[in-house]
Amino acid sequence: MSMLEYRRFSSLEDALRFLSERPDAKIVAGGTDLVVQMRMGKLKPSTVADIRGIMELRGIRESDEGLEIGALTTIEEIRESSLVERLAPPLWEAAQEFATWQIRNMGTIGGNLCNASPAADTAPPLMVLGARVRTARLGGGRTIPIEEFFRGPGETILEKGELLTHVHIPRPGDSEGHAFQRLGRRVAHILSIVSAAAAVGVEDGRIGWVRVALGSVAPTPVRARTVERELTGKTPSRDLIKSASEKVLNDIKPISDVRASAEYRRAMSVVLVRRVLEKALRRAGA
């Protein structure tokens, strides 16, 4: 590893100015992705900008529209939060099974999203929750639906000098149900083989709306739109859920890697989608 300069910031303004002048600088939050990449020689930043001292990027707050989570909030803080458990149940479930205590104490939600791994475990839950991310840069930030945030493996829409600051999650309604499930090589293994999340709103005994998202089965976390279309407006039944789950094969493009084969991922996607749908519907009272 090599690096020439290390800078710490406690003011967002200062950090943004520095990042705009120094496009080569790499941000560090918890470092659990960055340091691994530096060690493997994948990344050789000449400058590292430590944003951990910027207090306004920390913490979980209930807002008028729902929940606001600062980018520097750790996965362990999310795991321990009763606010997240109540207002963003699938995100809370994802935090329960996320990595190890040690990793969760350092790893942040902002780092998980900005690292843009197809396997980022917070992404499918945020997608089904209809979350938006807020960014900051000199001259003004943006608010973007989480789906539009990812561009490819390791790639986001963030431009040079732009920071992720907050995640906004709308308040769930009544008769809404959610679920998250992941499959890994072992409970605490690095990355999921497949993960899936679902959110469903039941209206008059029918599926009023539904969102399904998966991780590790495409270049980015993805929505399963074909499955969603198959279900919307219909009366839930075992058979319907089973046949709709099989449609997920139209929505994913898994690859084979060290964790699993593409074939296994396809088979497991169908199973996980079925399970999260069943659970979400049960929780919605259907």
């Binding site: 090599s2 710490r8 560090v28 470092g31 340091v35 691994v36 951990r52």
Partner: protein, 160 residues
């Protein structure tokens, strides 16, 4: 660059290049070699330390990130030449063979018992998923944490 923090209750100040990890800083610059180097990818837990009371992998932390922090390594567990009850319990339960994983397990166990004085076996297993023991001493390690919990509660009861 100059890095300042508290190590096992003592203030330290050390000059080191910014790209090294906290693991390297602790072992090679400060000689706290109780912190073990294993996988260096965050998976084995041999390098576990407490940073502001929380267990973390020192192999995934850049040394300058420790600025101002309170760091505790296995060297900081014993007091006045007396082993910490968790260390005693590991010996009494034979919770190690080669011992390479032990400092990491001791640190994570301390963090757990500081938060939850009387943890269930399930909670102990959950807290320790980030520590791997290649010798497979897990069963004894869990017994040791339960025993340590008992010891710590009786000591604090007799003091209080």
């Amino acid at each position: 660059m100059r890095i300042r923090f508290t190590l096992n209750g003592r203030r330290v100040e050390v000059d080191a290049p910014p790209h090294i990890t906290l693991l390297e800083l602790l072992r090679n610059y400060l000689r706290t070699t109780g912190v073990k180097r294993g996988c260096e990818t965050g998976e084995c837990g041999a390098c576990t330390i407490l940073m502001d009371g929380k267990p973390v992998n020192s192999c995934l932390i850049l040394a300058p990130m420790a600025e101002g922090a309170e760091i505790v390594t296995v060297e900081g567990l014993a007091e006045d030449g007396r082993l910490h009850p968790i260390q005693e319990a590991f010996i009494e339960e034979n919770a190690l063979q080669c011992g390479y994983c032990t400092p990491g397990f001791l640190i994570t166990a301390k963090a757990l018992l500081d938060r939850v004085p009387e943890p269930s076996v399930e909670l102990i297993k959950d807290a320790l998923t980030g520590n791997i023991c290649r010798c497979g001493a897990y069963r004894m390690i869990i017994s040791a944490v339960l025993r340590a919990s008992e010891k710590m509660r009786t000591t604090s009861a007799s003091q209080g």
